[in-house]
Amino acid sequence: MSSDTQHITISAKDLSIGYKNVSVANAINFDSLSGELIGIVGINGIGKSTLLRTLAKIQPSLSGSISIEGKSLDTLDASALASKISVVLTGSIASKYLTVQELIALGRQPYTNWIGTLTEQDKSKITEAIQMLQLEDLVHKKCYELSDGQLQRVMIARALAQDTSIILLDEPTTHLDLYHKVQILKLLKSITQETKKTILFTSHEIEIVIQLCDKMLLLKETDSPFGKPSELIKEGAFNTLFPTDTVSFDANTGTFRIQK
C-alpha cells in the first residue's frame, strides 16, 4: 500500500460488548482508517475499556464481528495479533522495578527469538520510540522514580516500539493535569500523522477530544454514533450522551453546560 492512501485498520460490525452475556453497549459499527486519531467517549460504565479490551482480544465479544486489517479477529492468535495491535492500559504495571529501557524493550517481544534477544533492528526501533517521546534522559530510571505523566509517555513509547499499525489506549490522560493531558493527546495526534498508525483511545475529556481527534465514537447503550466531531455536533449526537438533567451540550462552543 502506498503511504498516502488510507486503508481500513479496524472494522467493527454490529458489535455487542459486555461480561458474561450482560451487554453494556450494543450495535457498535465503525471503520477506522490508518493515520486516524479516534477518541472513544461515553458515560461511566458504558464499556469504553471493555470495548478496547474486546478489540485487543483480551476478552471476548458477545456478538458481532471485528476484523483487523481485513482478517477476522477470531482467526488471529495472540502472537499474530501482537504484531498488529499494541495497548496502553489503565492501572499501574505489575513491576515498577523495571527500567524505562527494559520496559520499552519488552515491546519488541513479538519479534524476538525464544529467549528474547534483541537484534540491531529491535534496538533501532527502541531508540526511535525513545526519541519520538523524548525520553532520552529517563532511559536508565526505574519506573517507580517516574511521575504519572512520564510513565504514560514511557508506556506509549513501549507501544510504539511494538511497531503495530494499531495502538489502543485506555484513558491515557487520567491523573494528569490539563497541561499534561493536552500534551499527551497532541503527542498521539502527531504520532498518527507521522507514522500513519491508527490510534484509538478512551477519554472523559470530551471537550479536548472534540478539538483534537479526527473521529469520535460516542458509546451509548443502543446506538453508538461514529464520525468527525463536527459532523457529530451537527447531528446532535452529543445531546444524548449524558442524561439531560444535569448537563447539556452547547453546539456553538463544543462544550457542556451545567444545568442550573
Binding site: 495472540a78 492501572g91 504495571i93 505489575a94 513491576s95 523495571l98 527500567t99 519488552l106 529467549i115
Partner: protein, 343 residues
Amino acid sequence: MENTAKYRISFVLLLIALVICFALNISLGSVSIPFKSTLNALFSGSIENESWHYIIWDYRIPKAFTAILSGGALALSGLLMQTLFRNPLAGPFVLGISSGASLGAALLIMGASIFSGFATFEIANSISLAIGASLGSFLVLLAVLSVASRVKDTMALLIIGLMFGSITAAIVSVLSYFTTSEELQRYVYWSFGSLGDLSWSQLSLLGGIILIGIILSIASIKSLNALLLGESYAQSLGVQLKKSRYIIIIATALLAGSVTAFAGPIAFVGLAVPHLTRQIFNTTDHKILVPAVLLYGAILMLLCDIVAQLPSSANVLPINAITSIIGAPVVIWLLTRKRRMLF
C-alpha cells in the same frame, strides 16, 4: 550494552564464591578433618584415613550437593512465583506446595497408628517419606491447578493456595492430636528440614527433577519478562497466558515439591534470595535473574548449612531454623531500605 560485561564479572565472582563455599562446607563438620586432607580426598582420592574418606564421600559431599540443589531450586521457584503472582511476598510456601508435602509426610509418619490397616506399612525409610511428601505436594498442586483453570485472577489463585495450605495444616494438627508421641516427634524432626539424609541415588533423582524444573523455567524466560507488565500486557505481547501459567506452575511444583519431599520444609530461601538478587544485579530481566538466583540460592544454602553444623561441635541445628534466622532479617532489611519491596 555496557551492562553485559558487568553481569559477566558478577557471574564469575558468584561461581568462585560457590566453589569456595562448597570447599568450606565439606571441610567443616562435627569431625574435624584437616582442609588439606579434604582436598586430597576430593581430587586424588588418596585414603589417609578410612573413616575420613567415608565421611567426606558418603556424607559431606552428598550433603553439600543437596544444599546446592535445594538452595538453587527453592530460590528459582520463589522467583517464578513472585513474577507469576506479581507479589513480592510470594514463595514456594504460598501455593500450598510445601504444606501438601507436609501433609503427605504427616500421613505417612502419624497416620499409621491411627488407621491401623496401614500399621504394617514400613514408614521408617526416607524414600517412602519422600514419595509420600511428593505425592502430597502434587495432589495439592493438582487441586490448585483445577481451580486455576476456572479462576482468571492470579490474586484469587494466591488466596486459594493459602486456603489449601490452611486445610493441610488443619489435617496435620488433627493427626498430631491423635498420634503417639514418638511419631509426633519424628514428624517434628522431619519438619525441621535436613540436608544430610540423602544417598547418592536419591540425590540423582532430586537432581533430575530439579533439572526438568530449570529447563521449564528457562523456556519461560520470555513470558516471565512479559508478565512483569501484568497479564493483559503479556497477552497483548503474544504470550499464550494459559499455557505459560501452567508451565510456570508445574516448574515451581517440581522445584519446590521435590526439595520439600527430600529435605523437609525449608523456609525463607525462596522468598529472600530473589529479592537479594534483584538488589545486587539491579535488573528485572529473567535472562539474568534465573541463573543468578540459582547461584545465590546455592551459596546461601551452603552457608546456612555451615552455620547449622556448628563447626567443631557434635551438634547439628535444624536447617529450617537457620534459614529463617538468616532469611527473616534480610527481608526486614529489604523492607526498610526500599520502604516497600519491589519486584
